[in-house]
Amino acid sequence: MSTYSLSDAIAAEAGQSTSRARDSVGWLRVAGPGIAAAAVWVAFGLACLHWEDRGDWSQTRSLGIAGFVIAALTLLGALGADHLGKVGTGLRQRVPWLLVLGAFVTLWEVATAKFAWLPLPFFPPPQAIIEVYTDDLPKLLDSVFASVKLQLGGYVIGALVGFLTGVSIGWSRSVGYWVHPVLRFIGPLPATAWLPIAFFTFPSSWSASTFLIALATGFPVTVLTWSGVASVSNAYYDVARTLGAKPSFLVLKVAIPAALPHVFVGLFMGLGSSFAVLVVAEMIGVKAGLGWYLQWAQGWAAYANMYAALIVMSLLCSGAITLLFRVRDHLLVWQKGVVKW
């Protein structure tokens, strides 16, 4: 920000004759990227409408119009950013992304739907993916719901069990004596390796998958909670003890809060590995969810459906991590410089 005001000051000193030219240069520097981004999106709209599709897609026209709408909004935002307050600054920051994204979609559209440089049906055009969202929405939503339900159940169970186990090992030497070897033996095994056994020992594929997701979540949560509790400085316990703390206070109000930063690292790692298990479990055993949808789409060579499901999956996983980080930021406000997601 300061560099802007500095250049403004220099421009003011340089005299009035040159200041007008400099003003327009400055204006172009600020609004230019926005205009370029709008132009790219216009190009996308034109590309959609101008050439004939090499296939039968129903949403090409709407997509072209959407391109023009995005272009108009971008242009409006770029020119009027100063009057739009927070939204305006947010938009201005994202203009380079809008530009690159527009260029990418245009290239994608041209390379697939219009000239088929990339072979169909393996590389569906954007309108084919939009079509999935408009035509196959109920099935996709059912899959999303099934995946979220399964993931949430398994993750919560795994996180709770892992947390309690970790605290117990970290706190009690005798619990550590018995649990630690088991953890070392079973923990590093990829949860997916249990898949064949889990599917015939559990009464339903749903409970088997919940178990596997819980297992994948539980291991990192256990290990990191344990190391968090074990690494709490004795000085904290000394202070609490001289102030009259009982053992329950030492666990709940000293060990656990002090270990919480580690616990969140474990929860984050557990989330990542449980996603992998979720998808595999759905592909192999459970007859629902996004993993199953992917498998089903592949069986029908419905590649657009696969891409559509992948996009949804990515948004869900990213959303879950965002949520976890929000919770962490809320609980760990006392920490300095936590990583932003």
Binding site: S233, V239, A240, T242, A258, W334
Partner: protein
């Protein structure tokens, strides 16, 4: 805080406890071998007394404090608080360590409230926390987190966290050791004022002869490890004291001599 420092030296009736340390010896196990740190230490402290323990670094002063606090049992000997055998930590004997060891996840107010919360009496006595913060002049920082405080402020919070329990014995383990010299001088005066107002028995471990003489009624000189009591010096001077007082300067020279450092003075 300045007002506190220059408070009138009225000595209130002591609420402090007497301490009895009888033939206490202690050792640490290092690689299987017992390393003696305290050897037959006997000391009796009157209620309300301010006793400084002075000795070479690593001699076992802090270990003695840990035993008095009840954080560890001694290998042999007996420690008593008002004739009651010390068998574990108790909030009537609170320690302020060299590091403030504030809980970083708790705000200043919640750090000070720690003792009352641990004893389960916080809900009824929240005003005691406010009073303790007021006492160390940090009422305005009640919602700050420890990482936002300076070293001196953090140590004041640690002091408030100890005082909120109305201890009978305040155990200070080089609490000013890591502060800069200016903050240190201010806080020494504050400590004297607090001690005079509250009347608790104070035990201070320090390696600074001047600090000991400025604060204490009595200075105990400990030998090199294993620590034995080498000298027990009464400091008969009213408060507030002045660092340039020839009497204190003389005592300081004597103490440094006992510590084998007279050649440097």
């Amino acid at each position: 805080m300045v007002a506190l420092a220059t408070a009138e030296p009225i000595i209130y009736p002591a609420v402090g406890a007497a301490l009895g340390i009888e033939h206490v010896s202690h050792a640490f196990d290092i690689d299987g071998a017992a390393l003696p740190v305290l050897e037959d230490v006997s000391l009796s402290v009157q209620p309300g007394e301010f006793v400084a323990l002075l000795g070479p670094s690593g001699c076992g002063k802090s270990t003695l404090l840990r035993l008095i606090a009840g954080l560890e049992p001694p290998r042999s000997g007996v420690l008593r608080e008002d004739d009651v055998h010390i068998k574990g930590p108790h909030p009537s004997r609170v320690v302020v360590f060299q590091d403030p060891t504030l809980f970083p996840w708790r705000s200043v107010w919640n750090n000070v409230a720690l003792g009352l919360e641990a004893q389960g009496i916080l809900k009824r006595q929240r005003s005691r926390v406010d009073a303790a913060l007021e006492l160390v002049g940090l009422a305005a920082f009640r919602n700050a987190y420890p990482h936002q405080l300076s070293g001196g402020m953090a140590q004041r919070v640690a002091l408030a966290r100890a005082l909120v329990n109305d201890p009978k014995v305040l155990i200070l383990d080089e609490p000013l050791g890591k502060l800069d010299s200016l903050t240190r001088i201010t806080m020494q005066a504050e400590l004297v004022a607090l001690w005079q107002r509250k009347g608790f028995t104070t035990l201070l471990v320090t390696h600074d002869a001047e600090e000991a003489l400025f604060l204490a009624n009595r200075v105990i000189i400990l030998s090199d490890r294993p620590a034995r009591i080498k000298a027990d010096i009464a400091v008969n001077r009213a408060y507030p004291r002045h660092r340039g007082d020839p009497y204190l300067v003389g005592l300081r020279k004597e103490i440094l001599g006992l510590l084998g450092l007279d050649a440097t003075w």
